[in-house]
């Protein structure tokens, strides 16, 4: 074998392992969403000069590992691990009240791992099928982003309000861009980090006001209950095909395959819809609960992978909410990776890795995440949940994230970066709270401002 290739694989394996371990840990802490954690750390690997294979494996292993451990707070404590876990919460809570939260967790995690393994090759296959249209897509990129933004806005919970809100939202981004341009500063990560952390910034502003504080005030601390655990297998590495029964495996595989083909819809929406489809086919209530949970977590995983991989491999343009948010540094991390607004030209992982490399490193990433995160989530979930809920205060988590947004924004644009992140965060957080103008739509709004608006202005 070519020594260069061996070196590349070794780097990819090392970076993937780091990603899997770090994000398996981060997933335990509820409320840490992918954009605020995966995006900055992936950006860091890009800027530190890690080879493309290493960057890609780091990102994907991190994402898959995090999705497995974020099921732990969701199932055991009834707190959503992040927004992607929201649609799973209700069914998980019912099993928790029946006293079997560990069953909910095992079904979810096993569904997720099976889905991840089939989602990577299928997403790459769909990307290869779409690739012939790549030239057309890149030429008409500004219009496609506009159409995608409107489509994604309409399918968000805010419906027409979200579509209409795109206009003022884009205007504010354009205004901020022209402000920073006056000082020769061009920002990108500050915008989408601001969008992602928006709910926290909006909450912090609200709690400063006496009226807001009255609404958010609580008499007591929150109550959680953790049921005793029962281990259902021997050894360290359980077999996911034994944790799920045959019909659960079948449903997980088929729904994951379907969702691997979709990349513009939000993972949350896909999860809800396909979960309903599965639920309507299962007769007994208990079996329905466990089957829907495994299929839903599989769909979340598969949609997420497809949303990151299909646009990256087929077009090199961040044409989905995941690609525009958590996976953004794979597309755009100046000066190393760039997307040219004017002509849709790209220089990023799309150009640096071929289809076979995407497949090989993608499978390597899922394998590493499975080795690290799956047995951890299955064996130590209860202890991990107990540790996090008893030792890690919410104040500490907020302190870490406030520090993170300030470091990244100051790093990117000094004081201007900080002002942009605060403005975007406050506006995005409030719009999301009041109108359900969710972060996925906001990411697309950002790209509309960057890519579509120059093309529209040219027409006028």
């Amino acid at each position: 074998m070519d020594p260069h290739l061996i070196e590349q694989i070794a780097v990819a394996a090392g970076m993937g392992l780091i990603g899997a371990i770090v994000f398996a840990g981060i997933g335990l802490v509820s409320g840490t969403d992918e954009t605020t954690t995966l995006a900055p750390l992936t950006l860091l690997t890009v800027l530190l000069g890690v080879p493309p294979a290493g960057v890609f494996t780091f990102f994907l292993a991190g994402a898959v590992a995090k999705h497995m451990t974020h099921a732990i707070p969701t199932a055991l404590l009834g707190i959503p691990g992040d927004t992607m876990a929201m649609p799973l919460l209700q069914d998980a809570n019912l099993l928790r009240k029946l006293g079997v939260p560990h069953i909910a967790l095992r079904k979810m995690v096993s569904g997720g791992i099976i889905a991840a393994f089939i989602a990577v090759p299928l997403a790459i296959l769909f990307a290869v099928m779409l690739a012939p249209f790549g030239a057309l897509i890149t030429e008409t990129a500004p219009w496609i982003f506009l159409a995608a933004a409107i489509l994604i806005a309409y399918f968000s919970a805010g419906r027409w309000a979200s579509v209409a809100l795109l206009v003022p939202f884009v205007v504010v981004i354009l205004a901020l861009q022209s402000l920073t341009a006056k000082y020769d500063v061009k920002l990108s990560i500050s915008y989408f980090l601001g969008i992602a952390i928006g709910p926290l910034i909006a909450d912090l502003f609200t709690v400063l006001s006496p009226i807001g504080r009255r609404n958010m005030g609580r008499e007591k601390v929150r109550q959680f209950n953790l049921a005793p655990d029962v281990k259902g297998w021997s050894g360290y590495f359980p077999n996911p095909f034994k944790v799920l029964d045959r019909s659960q495996t079948r449903w997980t595989l088929s729904t994951a395959a379907v969702s691997s083909a979709t990349f513009v819809f939000s993972p949350v929406a896909m999860t809800v819809v396909l979960g309903e489809v599965v639920g309507s086919r299962i007769k007994h209530a208990y079996h329905r609960l466990t089957t829907v949970l495994s299929a839903r977590n599989g769909v979340t995983e598969a949609t997420y992978i497809a949303e990151a991989l299909i646009p990256l491999i087929a077009f090199g343009l961040p044409l989905s909410p995941v690609a525009a948010g958590p996976a953004a540094p794979l597309f755009n991390a100046p000066p190393r990776f760039t997307v040219d607004a004017a002509n849709g030209q790209t220089h990023n992982l799309h150009n640096l890795l071929n289809h076979w490399e995407f497949l090989g490193y993608g499978m390597l990433a899922v394998l590493l995440a499975a080795i690290v995160s799956y047995p951890f989530a299955m064996n130590f979930a209860r202890r991990a949940a107990l540790f996090v809920s008893r030792k890690v205060s919410h104040e500490a988590i907020i302190a870490t994230f406030v520090g993170l947004i300030i470091v990244i924004s100051v790093w990117e644009g000094q004081l201007l970066g900080l002002l942009v992140i605060l403005t975007m965060g406050l506006m995005g957080g409030l719009l999301s709270r009041i109108f359900s103008f969710n972060t996925g739509v906001q990411f697309m709004g950002y790209y509309t401002a960057v890519l579509s608006v120059p093309a529209i202005v040219k027409l006028l």
Binding site: G31, L41, L44, L47, L48, I79, L94, R96, K97, L98, G99, V100, L200, D203, L204, V207, R213, M216, G217, R218, E219, K220, V221, R222, F224, N225, L226, A227, P228, D245, R246, G279, I282, K283, H284, A285, Y286, H287, R288, L289, T290, S389, R390, K391, V392, S393, H394, E395, A396, I397, I398, A399, T400, F401, G403, L404, V407, I408, V410, W411
Partner: protein
Amino acid sequence: MTSKHQDPPSTPYAEVWGDTVDLRHLAWAICIGIGISVLGYYCASQWLISVVESRQLAHAYAMLAGLAGCIIAGVICAKAFPPKRSVTETEISIDPQWREEVLQELSLQSGGMGSVSDLPPVVAQELKELKLYELFADAERAEHAVAPSR
């Protein structure tokens, strides 16, 4: 109601970003978070510019130092401020009221409770191991007993 408007809240707890915090602790935690991470970032960038040849790389390492500062701040805050959660470890499945609630909710779902005779043998076995089989079977019998009288 009026007394509520006049009196400041008796407890300093508030729900921020999905969990309960003590507002005084939160204020301190934010100061610590900003202080350590920004200090780490600036010190590292000053030092790295003189050590690392490439400016771009120095800039990226400074961000790493800043992020390390965030983690350190998080650890300090975790030690200084205890969580505002109460975690109990009782077996709630013993609580018949919870179970009753769940069964009611399940029977109201579209598709209803279903029959244990519809279950594949593996799933029936799983329910027996979890000691939930009888619960569902009883609920089903109760449902059938009610149905004809309607």
